[in-house]
Symmetry: C2
Subunit: 399 residues, 2 copies
Amino acid sequence: MSDSSVSRRRLFGYAGAAGLGGVAGVVAGRASAANGEAPVAQDVVGRTHSPYGEQQAGIFTPKTMTGELVAFDLAPDTDRAALGRLLRAWTGDIVALMTGRPPAGDFAPDMAQAAVSLTVLVGFGPRVFELEGLAGRRPAGFQDIPPMAHDRLQDRWSGGDLLAWVSADDATSVAHAVRRLSTDAAPFASVRWRQRGFWRPLDQTGAPVTGRNLFGQVDGSANPTGDLLRETVLSTDDWLAGGTQLVVRRIEMNLDTWDEATRSRQEASVGRDLPEGAPLSGGVEHDDVDLAATVDGSPVIALDAHARVSHPSQNSGRRMLRRGLNYTAEEWTDAGLVETSGLIFSAFQANIADQFIPVQRSLDQLDALNEWTTAIGSAVFAIPPGFSEGGWIGEGLLA
Amino acid sequence: MSDSSVSRRRLFGYAGAAGLGGVAGVVAGRASAANGEAPVAQDVVGRTHSPYGEQQAGIFTPKTMTGELVAFDLAPDTDRAALGRLLRAWTGDIVALMTGRPPAGDFAPDMAQAAVSLTVLVGFGPRVFELEGLAGRRPAGFQDIPPMAHDRLQDRWSGGDLLAWVSADDATSVAHAVRRLSTDAAPFASVRWRQRGFWRPLDQTGAPVTGRNLFGQVDGSANPTGDLLRETVLSTDDWLAGGTQLVVRRIEMNLDTWDEATRSRQEASVGRDLPEGAPLSGGVEHDDVDLAATVDGSPVIALDAHARVSHPSQNSGRRMLRRGLNYTAEEWTDAGLVETSGLIFSAFQANIADQFIPVQRSLDQLDALNEWTTAIGSAVFAIPPGFSEGGWIGEGLLA
């Protein structure tokens, strides 16, 4: 994030999941000149983000209409030096793709396009820190998520040594970027899994909103804002300083049984109403839930409500920044076509062991939403800080 | 399509694949008031189309950012009357969804959203005309595509008794609509296949464009326009009058071998340049290719160029309206993760036997693109005409 966008955020003092769009990230020359006066939506969609900054783009930049997370396994002979070569090549690709130019050697140069809010976020999986010369560099608290009682993890949606998370308003641009990054990775790493998702960060008037998951819930309202956001997300640890740690969970959502629940039970399971995402204890979406509120001696926010169990006050102040994407998928099985829906859950925090894991342990035991949700994939990535012109992603670790 | 949009189209005399956005379809109250003065992009994205008109929406309405085609198999006990009940229920769903209201009985009413260019196009597969009382109603020329030499059809991407093709600028809205339609269909029909695709109908300035497939080609430049478009697409046959016939082909595109071809060979295989989609014989994108042009005695447009082999002059004037969507997908096989890319090809015409089939036979024998493309799915649907308030889709066949 550039200094100018930091000060913009400080100025407005607001960076909720919806508001992130309006205040964070860097606009490096909007190409949508045909649009005339900037509508509010232009803070969120149709942007050209700078590839340069203290953080990689794709953390604080607004959520996009579409995105794809691609995890790679390192080839057996990819050592620290080879990984550095790949990261230098990827950095060149990313600078070009984000600014709408074709990367060097691109086989489809006509597909490069600015003003589609394209970002590429790169991270390292745990096995990177088993490479010779990197054993002592594993960030504090960076570890796989231990098994939870409700997990039904599948290997094919889990793990990975490298992550490239491409976000954009346009899936053709995402496909082009993924193709370029995968092709350049091929000598060093092979694709382990790809997860495609989508989100709607605008309402029907074009105003930025938090957006809904496929249960119809407004999802992301409680994300931290302002200085708290930076404290929550950003590491101060050695080479990772200015970077962060990312948890990706593929969470299947059972829409059939969810639809069978009454609307009031659905709302009680979260502690927020469905129309606006407002706390059931009163107020509007971005107000805090009032865990002490009672009606007839009973808590308004149920003891197993997601908003209570995950609330910082119940978790020694632990927080994270969530940035989920919806997905739908099918599989052909022996039993026929099986349709699934869910959320590509992602959470950024400075320290996975200190933040995500204890909160998730509570949720695993208590969260009412467990009735309808199941984690089927899990992966963690250390997200190096951003880079300046001439620098490259991961330089602090690999150079 | 309403009378007003027909006359608009006649006025402008222009309805190419890109231009379709600007001139066809009906805007029933734009909800994007926050955007102030209408930029050009507003002719294509962020629209609220009317569900009513001479044609169903989703044929002449602009291509959208995302879409999903869902094919259903009829249950054994779904007869003509039951199919009529389903179509009446779907019509109610579609009127609500397209206007941004939750359909009756919707379990996720908060997800309904206007101004996302949502359309739902419904069609009947061949087996509908085997139902009692409908045997004599099969439209002339409506038939499955006979096997072609280059086909590698998979049952799981082929066939289907019913189609619901949901288009929108927003995949969350598409998922919500598909869920609603599938749920209401459940007593009558089960999902056979779902194909998700995406498209980029704007350039980076926000101006409407034809858009590119994943080979990087501008795809759809030669679509007919004006009165020729209506003659090409619209049936005059009995109950189908004002409707059309649709071919859906899932076409896998081998990006690896395509990338190995030189750029000039790539351009020669189509007969158009890659940057603009302009004919290699000169001019700009929407100019006709000059099949007679020669250089040093050789044809400029190669004998096996896609634009020549598919040209109406080589096919007794036969045309179609193409409306493809890009896709990417993976499969886990015994050999590991296999990544694929391709096009959900679709073509509208008045008569499949007279239009698509003979053109496709020529392409199957001669088209240079066959080296890199393979049809892996094939389906046909009769698309009933549109409906007015109080009417329902398929009424002319099923009432």
